[in-house]
């Protein structure tokens, strides 16, 4: 007789991980600081580990690079990353100051042979920390530059949004950039060309004429997607997920223009129209690659 005890074992497993995660929260006091405005129950703090944040940032970066539209700005995440970069820079500074001190006073209280080997070892963490800092900064820089490029491109389109939508979409600095940059551009165009035009042709954002002057994102652009499933991996609780005839989980989406249904199976790669999977991307169930 086979008795399936998997759920009992899972119950036991969960207990041990609970102990583990509390240990983590005590270590990561920095992460709990940044979320102090949220009611501090255990689950939220575990979610905000530096590792998770970095993974999230990578996902945001890759999505932004591949998507045709400007995605909304993950303000809390970027803020946490920036504060971590700041504090890490200070730590590195402090450690390298410590180096100088121990170098100058070192030989007096230790024998030389042991000291050199000791120092070779302890430079390694510093090297790694500096390299890591450069890597994080690269990602952030590339991410923000990519967003600025889109802000440039969709400048007129973004002007149509009301301020509340913009708050969600852009960071404060990006908003400043957008308004000032379009101001400068308008000044140039007005001064050099538009002022010689007849009155009715002077508008820069004319949508009535033969060609629409406001460039919108290409909503149906083809993108490469990877179907990841719900971020919390609770497959049975996702209402959009269903099982196909092979017993695999999949999302059903419809391409409206072709009246065609497509099954997006989990862990598969597709080339798909952006509009069709936009909702899934927003909820993190599908990633752009």
């Amino acid at each position: 007789m086979d008795i399936n005890i998997d759920d009992i074992l899972a119950e036991l497993d969960r207990d041990t991980t609970a102990v583990d995660s509390t240990g983590h929260t005590q270590q990561g006091n920095q992460s709990s600081l940044s979320t102090s405005d949220i009611p501090a129950n255990n689950t939220t703090i575990i979610d905000v580990s530096p590792q998770q944040d970095f993974k999230q940032l990578m996902v945001h970066w890759r999505n932004e690079r591949c998507s045709p539209e400007l995605l909304s700005y993950p303000a809390p995440l970027v803020e946490r990353m920036l504060s971590r970069i700041q504090s890490q820079m200070e730590t590195i500074e402090n450690i390298s100051m410590g180096f100088l001190e121990s170098m100058s006073q070192g030989p007096s209280d230790d024998n030389g042979d042991k000291l050199t080997s000791h120092h070779n070892d302890s430079k390694l963490p510093l090297l790694c920390m500096e390299a890591e800092l450069e890597r994080v900064k690269f990602i952030l820089r590339s991410y923000i530059r990519c967003r600025l490029q889109k802000v440039d491109k969709f400048s007129l389109y973004l002007r149509q949004f009301d301020p509340i939508q913009l708050d969600d979409l852009l960071s404060a600095k990006e908003k400043l950039y957008q308004s000032r940059h379009s101001e400068i551009l308008l000044k140039l165009l007005n001064g050099s060309v538009l002022k010689f035009m007849p009155e009715e042709l002077q508008a820069i954002d004319d949508t009535e004429g033969s060609v629409n002057m406001i460039e919108e994102p290409d909503w149906n652009k083809f993108v490469f997607i990877m179907v990841c499933g719900p971020p919390d991996k609770l497959f049975s609780e996702d209402p959009l997920l269903s099982k196909n005839e092979y017993g695999k989980y999949c999302y059903n989406v419809t391409i409206a223009e072709l009246k065609e249904d497509v099954e997006l199976t989990l862990d598969s790669i597709y080339v798909m129209r952006y509009q069709v999977v936009r909702e899934l991307i927003m909820s993190g169930k599908v990633q752009l690659i």
């Binding site: 970095f54 990519c146 440039d152 072709l258 497509v262 597709y270």
Partner: protein, 215 residues
């Protein structure tokens, strides 16, 4: 613009490598960083304090006991000859031969190589050639074989570019990245032609063959 033209639609190969370098890999450290319990830690700089990955493994390295770290740290340690990198299971002559067999047998799909196989193989061949159990030149030639087999399959699959969608299971990130500008542009044009025809009312009800699986 703030982002160079060649980066606007796709990633550069260096960026693909950057993404791959964030994956964990197994190493044999040649240094010990674990502090003994009775020894008080005098020098704080001996501690690894990282902000993107778990630094627990790095603070608890014991020489010749395998551990898992992020690839870029492994490469950094390797450069200083402070560790040797353990090649993943699929990077052996036997496993690669199996993949080649699979690729040859199933002409309609790609074998289940990890999404970073091409990049990882290249990195490890260049940076850690002495850490493999199998001779590197044999591994190299098998990787090359796999690459060529898959490329011919991709070329075959390009016949099925359409205005609806494609499924490309098990295509690796680098392979996707080199195909991206081509596939996306062609399919965008096909879509434009198609939707223009629909708008013009020329739709004569012909149903496109759906679900091209060129995996």
């Amino acid at each position: 613009m703030s982002l160079p033209k060649h980066l606007q639609e796709t990633f550069s190969p260096e960026e693909i490598q950057f993404i791959v370098e964030n994956e964990p890999i197994k190493i044999f450290p040649r240094i010990t960083t674990r502090q003994r319990v009775n020894m008080v830690n005098k020098n704080a700089s001996q501690h690894w304090k990282l902000i993107t990955t778990d630094d627990w493994a790095l603070n608890n390295m014991v020489a010749t006991q395998s551990t898992t770290v992020v690839l870029w740290i492994a490469l950094l340690l390797k450069q200083q000859s402070k560790c040797s990198i353990v090649a993943p299971e699929w990077l052996t002559v036997r496993a690669l031969d199996r993949h080649i067999q699979y690729e040859k047998k199933n002409t309609d799909r790609f074998s289940e190589l990890p999404w970073n196989w091409l990049v990882l193989a290249r990195i490890l061949f260049n940076r850690a050639p002495e850490d493999f159990h199998d001779p590197v030149h044999e591994l190299r030639s098998r990787i090359q074989d796999l690459r060529e087999i898959r490329q011919t399959k991709v070329l075959k699959g390009l016949k099925y570019l359409n205005e609806s969608h494609l499924q490309l299971d098990n295509l690796s990130l680098l392979e996707i990245n080199e195909l991206r500008p081509f596939i996306v542009d062609i399919m965008d044009k096909l879509r434009e032609i198609h939707s223009a025809a629909v708008v013009a009312g020329n739709e004569d009800g012909n149903n496109e063959e759906d679900d091209f699986d060129f995996s």
